[in-house]
C-alpha cells in the first residue's frame, strides 16, 4: 500500500489503462491485395471491390500481418496464440463499407504479456498486457465546414492494425507516457510497425479514472486518438485534474469518449456511452481460424533482432550510462537504416564503447540529421570505428581530427583500404615524431622568454600558453600531451 501513496493526487488514486492501435507494416491491406501506402495517394484510389464492400467481395487474410502480429507477441514478452480467429463487429457508419469491422474478439492472436517501463528517476515498473488483436482500420470521414455533406476516403479502409490493450496498472501521467514510449520502441525494434507517430502509425486511447478508495475503480473517460507521448501525458494529466475537480465540486464523472484538442491542451466530450452499443460480435464465417504451428512460431522468434530491453542489458554491461543508452535507443529509431547499435556488438571494451556512444550521439546523429549522407553499412561502420579508435587511443589523432576523419569516412563513397595512410594524406595525423616536435618546442621556448621564465619559476599556468603555441606552429598536428611533456622536461 505504500506504493499507492506516491500516486495520490489531492486524495484521489488515478488509474489508467491504455489501448494502442499499431499499424502493421505490411505492403498491402489486411484482407485485400491493395497497397497500404495511403499517405500520398489521391482519395479513393487505393481501393478494390473488397475495400469498397461490394456484393460478393470476400476478405482474404494477408499472411504478413500474422507474421508481424506474432513478432509483436514476442516484443510484448509472450508468444502468439496458436489458435485465433476473426469476428465481425457491427455498426453503421459511412466510412465502414461492410457495415461491420473485421476484428478479433473471442480469440485474439495475443493474450497476456508484459512490458517494463522506464521512468525518469531511474525507477522501473512492469505493466501487464491484457491482450492484443488484429483488426482492419476504417476509412476516413471528413466533414467540410458549412456544407451539407461529408466526404469519405476509403484508402485507409482495411489497413492492418494491432490493438494492444494494457491492464489498468498505470497510475500517473508520467507512467502513461513511459508506457507509450516503451511500446513504441518495442514495436519499432521488433519490426512490427514503422511507428511514425506523425502519420498515425500508433494511436493511443487512454482510459482514465480517479477514486478516493484505491481498491475501487472510479468511472472512466476514454480519450481517443492521441498520437504523441506528450499528448498522452498531457491528456492523462488533464483528465485526472478535470475528474478530481468535478468530483470535488459535487459533480459526477460520466462514462464517455473524449477527444484531445492539442491547440488548447484539453480534452472535450465527444459522445457519451449512455446507449452502450451492441456490436453483435460473431465469428466471421468468411475467414478460417488462424492456426500457427510450433515450427512457424519458432521461425518467427528466431528471425527477430534484439529488442530494446536486450539492448539495454548489453549496453549496460558495456558500462554505458542509462541516459546514454536511452539516447542511443532513440537514435536507432530515428536512423534505423544505420544500425548504430549493431556496431556495439563488436566492442567489448568499456572505454571504447563510451567513446563510440559519444561519436554516435555527437557526430553521426547531428550529421545525419543535417546532411543525411552517411553510408548505410554496418560492417563498414564497424571497421571505421575500429580503425579510428585505434588511431585515437594510439595518440595519432586528436579528438577534433578524429571527428573530421569520422565524418569523411562515414560519408565517403569508397572506404580507403588504409585508413591511417588516408588520415595522413588528409593531414589529420598528430605529430608524434619526437624530432620534429622537439624542433617546434625549441622554437617556442626560444621566442617566448617571458612565459618560459614564468614556468621555470613554478607558474605552471603559463605552460598552457606554450602548448597552445606549439599547436599553432604545428598547425594542430602536434599531440598536445606529448608537447606538454616535452616542455615540462625541457623547462624543469
Amino acid at each position: 500500500m505504500s506504493d499507492i501513496k506516491k500516486y495520490i493526487v489531492n486524495g484521489y488514486y488515478p488509474t489508467i489503462g491504455i489501448e494502442c492501435h499499431v499499424q502493421l507494416k505490411t505492403k498491402t491491406k489486411l484482407f485485400a491485395s491493395v497497397s497500404n501506402e495511403a499517405r500520398e495517394a489521391a482519395q479513393n484510389t487505393l481501393v478494390s471491390h473488397i475495400c469498397f464492400g461490394l456484393p460478393g467481395a470476400l476478405p482474404v487474410l494477408n499472411e504478413k500481418a500474422v507474421t508481424l502480429a506474432a513478432k509483436a507477441a514476442f516484443a510484448l514478452g509472450t508468444e502468439p496464440q496458436t489458435y485465433s480467429k476473426f469476428d465481425r463487429k457491427h455498426y453503421f457508419y459511412p466510412d465502414l463499407p461492410k457495415g461491420y469491422q473485421i476484428s478479433q474478439f473471442e480469440e485474439p492472436i495475443i493474450l497476456g504479456g508484459e512490458i517494463t517501463i522506464y521512468l525518469e528517476n531511474g525507477d522501473r515498473k512492469v505493466i501487464n498486457i491484457t491482450r492484443a488483436h488484429m483488426e482492419e482500420d476504417a476509412g476516413k470521414s471528413t466533414h467540410p465546414a458549412g456544407r451539407d455533406y461529408s466526404l469519405v476516403d476509403l484508402n485507409r479502409a482495411g489497413t492492418p492494425l494491432l490493438e494492444i490493450v494494457s491492464e489498468p496498472e498505470i497510475h500517473s501521467a508520467e507512467e502513461a507516457k513511459a508506457y507509450a514510449k516503451e511500446l513504441w520502441l518495442r514495436m519499432k525494434y521488433a519490426g512490427v510497425s514503422d511507428v511514425d507517430l506523425y502519420h498515425g502509425n500508433m494511436r493511443f486511447d487512454v482510459n482514465v479514472s480517479v477514486s478516493k478508495d484505491p481498491s475501487k475503480l472510479g468511472i472512466r473517460s476514454e480519450t481517443k486518438n492521441l498520437n504523441s507521448f506528450r499528448s498522452v501525458e498531457r491528456a492523462v494529466e488533464y483528465e485526472i485534474k478535470r475528474q478530481i475537480e468535478l468530483l470535488e465540486s459535487g459533480g459526477e464523472v460520466v462514462q464517455e469518449t473524449r477527444g484531445w484538442l492539442d491547440d488548447f491542451q484539453k480534452t472535450v466530450s465527444q459522445r457519451t456511452k449512455e446507449n452502450a452499443h451492441d456490436y453483435r460480435y460473431f465469428p466471421d464465417p468468411d475467414l478460417p481460424p488462424i492456426i500457427l504451428s510450433k515450427e512457424y512460431v519458432e521461425t518467427i522468434r528466431s528471425s527477430m533482432g534484439a529488442l530494446p530491453q536486450e539492448w539495454r542489458e548489453s549496453l549496460e554491461e558495456k558500462g554505458l550510462a542509462t541516459q546514454t543508452i536511452e539516447e542511443l535507443l532513440l537514435a536507432e529509431v530515428e536512423f534505423d537504416e544505420l544500425h548504430f547499435l549493431d556496431v556495439f556488438t563488436a566492442i567489448d571494451d568499456e572505454k571504447r564503447a563510451k567513446n563510440f556512444a559519444n561519436w554516435v550521439l555527437n557526430i553521426f546523429v547531428p550529421r545525419q540529421r543535417d546532411k543525411a549522407d552517411i553510408v548505410c553499412d554496418v560492417e563498414r561502420m564497424k571497421s571505421i570505428e575500429a580503425a579510428v579508435y585505434a588511431l585515437l587511443s594510439g595518440g595519432k589523432l586528436s579528438s577534433n581530427a578524429a571527428k573530421e576523419l569520422l565524418e569523411i569516412l562515414a560519408t565517403e563513397e569508397k572506404l580507403p583500404t588504409d585508413i591511417e595512410q588516408f588520415a595522413e594524406e588528409k593531414g589529420l595525423i598528430q605529430m608524434n615524431d619526437s624530432g620534429e616536435l622537439e624542433k617546434i618546442v625549441d622554437e617556442v621556448i626560444e621566442s617566448n622568454p617571458k612565459p618560459v621564465e614564468d614556468v621555470r619559476n613554478g607558474e605552471m599556468k603559463a605552460i598552457g600558453f606554450l602548448v597552445g603555441q606549439v599547436m599553432q606552429k604545428s598547425q594542430g598536428k602536434a599531440n598536445p600531451a606529448e608537447a606538454k611533456k616535452l616542455l615540462q622536461s625541457k623547462l624543469s
Binding site: 456484393p55 460478393g56 482474404v60 457495415g99 453483435r280 464465417p285
Partner: protein, 484 residues
C-alpha cells in the same frame, strides 16, 4: 434419361455441343442466338429471366468462333466451347446488371465477375442472361423476388421453387444447356425437384463464393442445374477448386469428375428422419422406388438414423439469419445501392434506405438474425445452434461409417401453388426441412428428377460424404433413364 417433358428446346449433351463448336459444325454465335431467341419467345409466359446480356454474349461468342477459325487454340483448354448458360442473378458478371432480385441492387452493374462464372467463361462457356430468384436468395418459391414470380414450366399456376427458381425453370424449359444456382439451405435442389431437373449442391468450399451476393457465408455454395449427371460432372470439373479470392475454398482433384470409376457396389443409407409423416406419400414411394433400383443393381440399402435432423431446421433458421443479417449490412444506401431521397440526417438515410430497399422477407430475416446475435441472446441462440450443428455433423460422420451415400426426398411435397404459402412464413420455411441439414454439414447432395406424366415432378435426394462430390454424381447416375 429423365429429360424434362416441358422443354421448349432440346440441347445435346454439353460435351457434344463443345465438340460441334470445335469442329465447326456449330458456332458459338448460333448457340447464343438460339438461347436468346428461346428466352425472347417463351419467357413472357414463365418470367424465369431477369435480364439478358445479348451484346456482351454475342461479342464473347464471336471471339470464340474467330479463335476456332484461326486454328490457333488448344481444345483441351475449352471443354465448354461455345456453350451458352444462364446464371442466377445473385452472381456477378462484369458489365451486366446484378440485382439479386432486390430493389436494393436494381441498376447495379457488376464491376467484376464471380470466380465460378469466370472459370466457366475461361473454358469457353458464355453467360447469356440472369435468372430470377427470391430477393437475396431468401425463399423457396421466387415469390420474394422484387421483380415478379417465376412460373413453374410444368404448371404455370405453381411456383418453380427457390431461391434458384428462375435457374431451374430456365433449365426445365431448355433455354440453355445448363444454368447456375446457389444453394444455402436447398436453393438449388428444391427448385430442381419442383421443375424436374438435376440440381447439384457441391461440398461447401468446392466452388468459390467470390462474386456471389452473400446470403449465409458458412453454407452458401454455387452449383449447376442440368438435365443429366454427366453434364453436372463436366461443369463441376471446370468450376471447382481452390480460389485465392475465397479462403474457405478447398483443394480438390481437378480430374475427379473426369475419371468416373468402376461402378462397384455401394451402401445406400435411407435416412429415417427424412421420411417422416410430413413427407407426401407419393414422394415416399419414389424414394422407396429409388432404393429398390439400387437393390436391383446389386447395391446394399440400409436404414440409418440422424436424430439431430429433427432440429436442423430450427438450427438453420438461427445461424443463417445471423449470418445474412451481417452480410446485408453493407446495403446501407451510402454507396452503390438503392438510396432513399430526401433524408435530412445520416440516421434517417440509413433507416429509409434499408426500410424501402429491402423487401419483407429480407427484413424479417435481418430482424431474426439481429436478435439472435444481440448481447444477452447470443449464447441462448447462436452458440446453442452452433453446438447443434456440430452434433449434426458428427451424426452424419457416423452414418458415413457404414454408408457410402444417403438417400431421401428433396422436398416434403411437390411444387405448391403460387400464393399458397405466402402468408405463412413458418410453413414456407418448413419446405427446407429435407435440405438444410446438408448445408449445415457442408456435404455434397443432388436432387434427381422423377418426371411423371401429367403430374408434378418429384425429386430424390442423394447426399454424399465431404469432398466426395464425384461419388454422389456416380451413384445418382444410376437413377437416370428409369421409367416411373
Amino acid at each position: 434419361m429423365s429429360q424434362s417433358s416441358v422443354a421448349v428446346f432440346s440441347w445435346p449433351k454439353i460435351n457434344d455441343i463443345a465438340l460441334s463448336v470445335a469442329d465447326g459444325s456449330m458456332t458459338a454465335v448460333a448457340n447464343v442466338e438460339k438461347a436468346l431467341s428461346l428466352i425472347r419467345e417463351y419467357d413472357n409466359t414463365y418470367h424465369a429471366i431477369l435480364s439478358t446480356c445479348e451484346e456482351l454474349a454475342l461479342e464473347k461468342a464471336k471471339k470464340i468462333d474467330d479463335m476456332v477459325a484461326s486454328g490457333e487454340w488448344n481444345a483441351e483448354e475449352y471443354p465448354l466451347l461455345g456453350v451458352p448458360f444462364i446464371a442466377k442473378d445473385n452472381l456477378l458478371v462484369k458489365g451486366t446488371e446484378t440485382t439479386a432480385a432486390s430493389n436494393m441492387l436494381k441498376g447495379f452493374v457488376a464491376p467484376y465477375t464471380a470466380t465460378a462464372v469466370q472459370r466457366l467463361e475461361n473454358a469457353g462457356a458464355i453467360c447469356v442472361g440472369k435468372a430470377n430468384l427470391d430477393a437475396f436468395a431468401h425463399g423457396g418459391s421466387t415469390e420474394n423476388s422484387d421483380f415478379g414470380v417465376t412460373k413453374n414450366p410444368h404448371d404455370t399456376g405453381r411456383v418453380p421453387g427457390g431461391s434458384s427458381g428462375g435457374s431451374a425453370a430456365a433449365m426445365a424449359l431448355g433455354y440453355t444447356p445448363f444454368t447456375l444456382g446457389t444453394d444455402t439451405g436447398g436453393s438449388i435442389r428444391q427448385p430442381a425437384s419442383f421443375c424436374g431437373v438435376v440440381g447439384f449442391k457441391p461440398t461447401y468450399g468446392r466452388v468459390s463464393r467470390s462474386g456471389a451476393v452473400a446470403m449465409a457465408s458458412s453454407t452458401d455454395v454455387i452449383g449447376p442445374i442440368t438435365s443429366n449427371t454427366e453434364d453436372t460432372a463436366l461443369i463441376m470439373s471446370v468450376m471447382s477448386g481452390k480460389d485465392e479470392l475465397d479462403s474457405t475454398t478447398i483443394d480438390s482433384d481437378p480430374n475427379e469428375f473426369r475419371n468416373v470409376s468402376d461402378k462397384k457396389s455401394v451402401t445406400v443409407g435411407v435416412v429415417k428422419e427424412l421420411l417422416s409423416d410430413a413427407v407426401a406419400p407419393e414422394i415416399r414411394e419414389e424414394v422407396e422406388a429409388a432404393a429398390q433400383a439400387y437393390r436391383d443393381n446389386g447395391h446394399k440399402v440400409v436404414e440409418v438414423s440422424i436424430p439431430t435432423i429433427d432440429v436442423a431446421l430450427a438450427t438453420y433458421y438461427v445461424l443463417v439469419p445471423a449470418e445474412l443479417s451481417s452480410n446485408l449490412s453493407r446495403h446501407d444506401g451510402q454507396r452503390y445501392q438503392y438510396s432513399a431521397d430526401d433524408t435530412a440526417t445520416l440516421e434517417e438515410s440509413y433507416e429509409k434506405s434499408r426500410t424501402s430497399g429491402f423487401g419483407r422477407e429480407a427484413k424479417r430475416r435481418i430482424m431474426l438474425g439481429t436478435y439472435v446475435l444481440s448481447s444477452g441472446f447470443y449464447d441462448a441462440y447462436y452458440k446453442k445452434a452452433q453446438k447443434a450443428r456440430t452434433k449434426l455433423i458428427s451424426e452424419f460422420n457416423k452414418a458415413f461409417e457404414t454408408c457410402d451415400v444417403l438417400l431421401g426426398p428433396t422436398t416434403p411435397s411437390v411444387a405448391f401453388k403460387i400464393g399458397e404459402l405466402t402468408d405463412d412464413p413458418i410453413q414456407m420455411y418448413a419446405q427446407d426441412i429435407m435440405t438444410v441439414s446438408v448445408n449445415l454439414a457442408g456435404l455434397p447432395a443432388i436432387s434427381m428428377p422423377v418426371v411423371r406424366n401429367s403430374s408434378m415432378p418429384i425429386g430424390v435426394q442423394i447426399i454424399g460424404q465431404h469432398k466426395k462430390d464425384a461419388q454422389v454424381l456416380e451413384v445418382a447416375s444410376l437413377l437416370e433413364g428409369r421409367e416411373s
